[in-house]
Structures are given as structure tokens and as C-alpha cells.
Subunit: 415 residues, 2 copies
Amino acid sequence: MRNEVTPVRHGTMRARNLAVVLGEISRRQPVSRARLADVTGFTKTTVSSLVAALKDAGLIREDGPVRDGERGRPATAVSINGDRVAGLGLEVNVDYLAACVLDLGRRIRHRHIVAADNRGRAPEQVIGALTDLAERAIAAAADQGLTVAGAVVALPGTLDRAGGRVRTAPNLGWRDVAAGDLLAAGLPPLALPADQDNEANLAALGELWFGDGRELGSYVHVSGEIGVGAGIVVDGRVFRGAHGFAGELGHVVVDPAGPPCACGGRGCLEQVAGQEAILRAAGIPDVTGTSTAGPDGPLAALIALLRDGDEAALAAVRRAGEALGQALSAAVNLFDPDGIVLGGIFSALAPWASPAVEEALGGGTGVVRHTPPRLTVSRLGGDAAALGAAALVIERVMTDPARLLTEAPVRPRER
Amino acid sequence: MRNEVTPVRHGTMRARNLAVVLGEISRRQPVSRARLADVTGFTKTTVSSLVAALKDAGLIREDGPVRDGERGRPATAVSINGDRVAGLGLEVNVDYLAACVLDLGRRIRHRHIVAADNRGRAPEQVIGALTDLAERAIAAAADQGLTVAGAVVALPGTLDRAGGRVRTAPNLGWRDVAAGDLLAAGLPPLALPADQDNEANLAALGELWFGDGRELGSYVHVSGEIGVGAGIVVDGRVFRGAHGFAGELGHVVVDPAGPPCACGGRGCLEQVAGQEAILRAAGIPDVTGTSTAGPDGPLAALIALLRDGDEAALAAVRRAGEALGQALSAAVNLFDPDGIVLGGIFSALAPWASPAVEEALGGGTGVVRHTPPRLTVSRLGGDAAALGAAALVIERVMTDPARLLTEAPVRPRER
DNA sequence: TCATTTCGTTCAGGCTCTGGACTAATTAAA
DNA sequence: TTTAATTAGTCCAGAGCCTGAACGAAATGA
């Protein structure tokens, strides 16, 4: 039982309260100090002091005085300053690299995707190319007067986040790679340490910030690419499970009598709804090695077939949708989300797949819910995970702004 | 996005730090103040002050001086005082009521189960009987010098925990019942407000405190009774999902072509592995209304058949195990737990069901894990949820001991 | 013009943690 | 036996941060 209850000192108190005020400013901007005092329960004195510290750090900006038609002295509103601090999101995927810069006001300031076949390339090489992308992004941010406070990399594999290592990324052919360190070595030092996270989790976070997730709060984001993964967001937070490997939707069993899977099971979802399985069932030749996402890739070919009404392709996608719906119904019963968001290849296949998904979901959604969860299709591009990665940086700044104003917070204890 | 970041004042700081010290005492008892200072990072001064407050509240006790053979002045150790504060756990189930008293040292001081057919009885009547049980438990606690700090009720249904109401408890025939209020009205005022929680969640918590959960940390606890539910514990905490309805294992689809279910789906786990489905498949006559748990109940009859090697019974239970294993493999892939604990009726059926469960689990456990999660069988009795309910009270005292020493903490703010 | 209202700052005060000094109690060495 | 060293716990001044009342500032309305 690891009941993480950490000591609180004055510094911790201050840090949390800075986050409280910054959060309320973000939620209600433009907002006066008086209103902040009202909303947080702090005294006006305290709010003024906290606001001053945030302003000194460049995180917020003081707008001119505003009158609401009320009487009394007009307030001077403060709001988030989007022109100083930014977060860098990076993504390594099988057939592309992506970078994006997000400012504190949640505006995307830079976005860059480069096609690259990363299958089997040496990790050092891939991270080297990513570092170039990152440097260009930092330069682009600097041109706009922005300082990049931190970076997060999205990786398609299972990670040891605490140790900062990629354990396995089967589709890249990686095994035990210290991706974070490699990246950090190539970048200028940032205020926050470089971090890494699973591509599925970050794509879900991207959806939370820039897609349908904003209205949902709790949802399961399906990020099917080569494998089928899911990012689970509960009440606005990414749910990672005990070891950070939650959401392995691809290996949920949808047919116990189905074909064996590399994972040791039988009839895993990935065997039916994974990209390769769909392509195979649709009769599209195996083209491992070519970029799947491009206009000449097999995915485009599949969509062309679907548009033409090709029977085999339609059946393959319908079958994938059924299986996906079945696996998702398990996720719905176990997590009780407000919605499901189809991302990855499924956003492109949605017109043909989602009726089957919807049908499977509409049925077995438990006695508890009156309505099945809302099924929506992601409108984010392929770099959803890069967006989410940048969002994670900004989220960190928002939840612990103190790290940007102190030099070295004391973090004692050794067990 | 509800990023619950609450203001911290001096009082909050103190309260959290009391919890920090109390937690470390619980983990390392008996332990000296000096060691506590070391472990928490507080100064000796602060530790002494916090320890004094906890001692005043009667939560900890000062043992005599201890020498470890080291040199220097011997320390005076402190440890949890199990003789002052206790938690009351209550449980309403279909065919019994239960109460139990747990002291702060996690010792069970009182345990009482009463058979009662609660199906269709008026909620007021049931809660009235439960109140009697609670009063007797409080008296038993008082006889041992214990003060009951709070009570939690386990209920078999879906709850609105914030509003303190039972939304539906299908097996009891309840709908929109303010069980907590009814109970609180009949009890003497307690330091902590009476609370309620789902039976599956609390049974899982009971397993965490008194069963195999102690070593696991993260696990899925199956609590099959009439329905099939699951309590999910992630890193020592009960995972409730966004609305508190997580873990509806019974309506995970295990056979899309299976029989329709009351929930609107088809082939839900409950249709195969629910108690009634198993009994029916085993050829045991429907005996709704009689107590299932008793020695004359249908469950005992089923077990007798299994012992005799009855083919139909064995097949029914094997089939239930397969289906349960399939549903659990979905849970394993989605939550990545360290283990699975079979509780409820499945703990009694485990000798016959668990091979099939194990087989289904051994296969589809994802690429991530090297080994399938450990499958264990609960050794707790039928009142696991009552134990968990009492544990929840103690957990609350441990995580916020300040509530037992202040009269009315100021909790401002109105949005 | 003046009372009223609301905003934000100032300043004294209180709560809680910090850190060094000090006393207490024991072991190891002289 | 005495003395030095070591460790435990308390005392007290001090610092960080929030509180609360008082106050000046800037508007509206009579």
C-alpha cells in the first residue's frame, strides 16, 4: 500500500497555491484579484501576492482596468500570458516524426511533421533526427519570443517512465532505449526535465485539449495505428494504471476461438482490427516498409476501395468495427467513460467502421447507464500525440508553476 | 477539465503533515521520533510537535525506551494506539446484514452477521435492522474502550456517493434511497459523517487489508454474488472511475452471439457466470427467495453436486470460469493489475472454476507483461465488504487525522 | 460635492516549519 | 571510574506564508 502522502512545507504550500490561482486565472480569464479571492477563499492580500509572483514569472499578464457597469472602483483583470512560456511536444512514430510548440494560452505556435520510415533504424539515428526537429521548433518558438520550458516525447511502445527508458517498441524494433536521455543530450537545457510517455496516452491528452475530449471529461481514446492502443482519460486526467501499461486494448480477446496472437492469446482485437489484419482481409497486398500514412500508402488504397464499394474491404472494416465495439464495450463497463473517441486509422475508417462500433456499444453498456457513451471521431491529425505531449508540458507548468520561478526546490528524504 | 487543486493554508499543511507522520508510524511502528524525522525530512522539532498532537488525540501511544544495541541515548518509540479509535463497517446484502468494528491497529474487534432475506423489504425496514446491528456493534466497541469514529455502509447497487443516495439496487428492489441519511438518523453522532459505498469496491478494499491484496498492490477483485461485479484496486487505492460506476464486469460481452441480457446487450458475462445462470445450467431448480448462502441454499447444493462429480454441474462451472477468464483478460489488458482475486461465490467455486479462468488469463495477457497476473482465491468470509467498509473508516482517519482533533475545520469557497 | 461601493495595498499578527543550541541518556574508550 | 563520543528529544529565536483590519484609490449615484 503506497499511500503517497508527502510532507508539506511553506514552499510546498506556496507552490500549490500558485497553481490554484494560476488555474483559476486560466479558467476565468480575464479575472480580477478580488474575484480570485472570492473564488479561492484566499484573502485579497494573499491573492495579490500570488498574482505578483506569477506576473514576475511571466506566466500571466495584467490587462487594463475593466468596468462591468457595476459601481465601485474598476478592477484590473489578469489573464494567462501566452507570449512567454511554451511547451515542446515531440513524437516518434513508425513512419513519421513530429514536433509542435504550444504556448501557455494553449495556442499552437509551431507544428511540423516529417515523413520517415523509422522501422528498424537505430534509436540513436531516430532520436538524432528528432533532435533536429526539436531544435528547429525551439528556434521557431524563440522567433516568436517564446521560451520552451520543457519537452515531452511520445513513443509507440511500453515505457518505464520512472527510469526514463523505452522497454519495448515492437513496431520500431526498439528494446531498452534511454530515449529521454538521448534527447536531452542533444537539446539545450530546459527548465523542466525532458520526459517521455506512451503515444496512446498522449494522443488521448491531445484529444482532451484540442478535440472532443474537452466536453467529455472521461473517455477512451482509441489510437489504432499498427497496433491498437487506447488512452484512458478519467475526469480530465490520463489513467495509466499501476505500472503505466493500462489501456492495452489491442489484446482484449474478442473471439476465444480466433487465431493465435503474438502475445500468447487467441483472438485478440489486434488480430481483427489491427491495420495489417484489416488490409489483409481487404485483399490489399502486404507492403510492410512503405509509409502507411502517405497518399500512396496501403491505407489510402483501402479507403479508395471502400469508396468504390469493394465488398471485401467493406466486410473487413465492418468486422473490425464489430470487434472494436466489443472490446470497447468491455472498456465502457470497466471504466464508465462519458464517451469514446476514435483516433488513429479509425478516424479515417470511421465512415465505414463506426456503425458497427456503435451497434456493439449500444447493446452491452451495463445496467448502470441509461445511454451508451457518445461515440465521436477524432478530428486531430496524425500528430495528435505530439499535441498531447506539448499539452503535457503546459499542464505541468500550470500544476506547478513554482518550478519556473525558483532555482532549486529542496526535495529531501531518502527511504 | 476538473483539475481539483485546492488552496492550502496553515491548517491544511498541519493536517497533511499529521497524516504523513501517522502514516509512517503505522508503516514502521514501533519507531522513534528521530527516525521519523529522518524518513519524512521534517526537523526533529516538527516531528515532536506532530507526534504530540497525535498522542493527545489518542491515535498513537508512547512505548517505553528502546535500545537497539546502538550507542547514544536510547529512543522512545511510538506506535499506533489501537485501543481508542475504531471504525464501523456495515453491509446490506441480499440475504444477510453484517457489521464489524475495526480498531486503528487494524484488529477486528467485533464481527456480526445476521441472515435476513432483504429482497423486496422496505428500505426503512432494512436500514432499521442494520441500525440495530450498528448500535450493538458500537456498544461492543465501547465495552472494549473504543470510540467509533465513523461508519461506512456497503450496498449492492449503484450509488450516488456525492448525494448520499442509492440510485438502484436491483437485487434489493431499491430505487433512489437515501440510505446514509436513514442510517445516520438512527445512530449517535460520529466524528466522521456516515458514508456509503459499493459492495464490490469495499470487498476489494477488505481484500486489500485482510486478504491477498496486501501483497499485490494492484488487482481486480471479483465479487460475484447474484450479479458479477469487480472492485478495482490500483496502487493501493480503489479505482471508482469518473462517476463511481467502474468495474461492471458482469456486463462485459463474452459472446456477441449469446442470449440477450437485461442490460440491452447480448452474451454478457452475467448470462454465463452469474449465480442464477450457473445454477440453471447445472440443473438446480430456481429457488429465488431462499437464502443462497446458507447450508440448505442452492449454492451448497451446487457444491455437493460438484463434489459428486456431476457432469452438468462441472460443465456449468467450467463454462462460467472460461467466460470469467475471458472478461478478466479484458480487465487485465485495460488495467494492468498485479493479480486477480476471486471472491463472492467464485471463492467457493474456485476449485472447479479457476483452472478455466487461469487458462483464459494465461493466454491473452498482452505483449507487455511477461507473466500473467497472479490468480488467487479470497479467504475472507461473506462479510468481506463489511470489513472493507470498516477499513475505509480507518483509512480516512489515517489520511486525515486532524478531523479527530479539531472541532470544525474551515472549508470556504463557493463557486 | 459627498456618500457609497468596490479594488487592491499596507502592516501587524498568527500559525507552522526550520535550525542551532542545549539537556538527557547511553556506549566506548581512557 | 571518569571522560569523550554519540544519539534522542526539547527549547527558542527566526523565517515563510496566510489572515484580517485599516486605508487609500477609483469609480457610481444622489
